[in-house]
């Protein structure tokens, strides 16, 4: 097939080339594989019993989250202000969640 790049010769300020369709399909494959891995380890009782179970799930989930945001939502390629608008509230929300879980005794107890 031809080159499907959506990049353009003249970009305005803050504008960058978006990924190609092949990148989108690769991202979808990675997301599927990570999801399969998540479900797989859920069904391994020996692994579920270890302390690695929850951190590994959280890491895989965070990777999926970041991949979708960076490539499908184009945050990796878009203007810095959009990144600030998303990550700012996300950081505040994550901090609030940690404090709440600490207050309810789910963390560091």
């Amino acid at each position: 097939m031809a080159d499907h790049s959506q990049s353009h010769a003249g970009h305005a300020e803050g504008e960058h080339a978006h990924p190609t369709w092949s990148t989108y399909w690769k991202v979808a494959t990675i997301l599927t594989l990570i999801t399969v891995a998540e479900v797989w380890i859920y069904y391994i009782p020996a692994f579920v019993a270890t302390k690695l179970f929850v951190p590994s799930l959280l890491i895989m989930s965070a990777v999926k989250f970041a991949i979708v945001v960076m490539f499908y939502m184009h945050l990796k390629y878009d203007h810095k202000l959009f990144r600030v608008l998303f990550t700012g509230p996300l950081i505040i929300a994550a901090a609030t969640m940690m404090v709440l879980l600490f207050l309810f005794g789910h963390l560091f107890v």
Partner: protein, 229 residues
Amino acid sequence: MATAAAAAAGVVGHGHPPTTTGLEHRKIAIWAFIGSECMLFTSLISTYLAYKGRSVTGPFPHEVCNPPQCATTMQPILDIPVTSVSTFVLLMSSLAMVMGLAAVQNKDKPGWAGTGWWARIQESSRIWIMMTAILGATFLGFQAYEFTSFVHEGLTIRKNLFGSSFFTLTGFHGAHVTVGVLWLLTLYAIDVRRGLGPKDALLVDIAALYWHFVDVVWIAIFTLVYLIK
């Protein structure tokens, strides 16, 4: 074409009134909205996690419920295989959405996807937008099945802390998916009526951002609610 790309990137192009940031105000607005939605869903997820394991009566998400907590022995209520399939469906809907956006952005470049039947499919924004809506509706079907089976098994929103926090969280997410499906069907109707082109790239991009956000929220819910015991 540069104007379409600029619009998709949220940069103000020719023919638009200038903004102080030099960026499309509608794209700034959707990102600000998504930021606020992050806080909403984090509060709902936090509530679920804070109440996790504190239900006095069953059914429970991951544990067997034995008498006297339950009238009869009840198995864990979450159905991981079904939810895994619905998660896959939602992930694939995000792929269809980006393909739809790419088709709209490149509509003024015939042959941009190459030649052959697959290229023709790639260039059709109608196919991808409709596919995204169908996959979203399929996800909602899975959710309706899950909610119905839970109610039949004795878990309602008033049954216990798990039921209250679970139905509130996943119900809010389902409502967002429903809005997304309606939005996509509207875009499809516009595409059928007059055709979506590069000048409409920003409209599709804004819908796509909303759709992907709904997807990332589910990524978090799937792990935190369904997989972590």
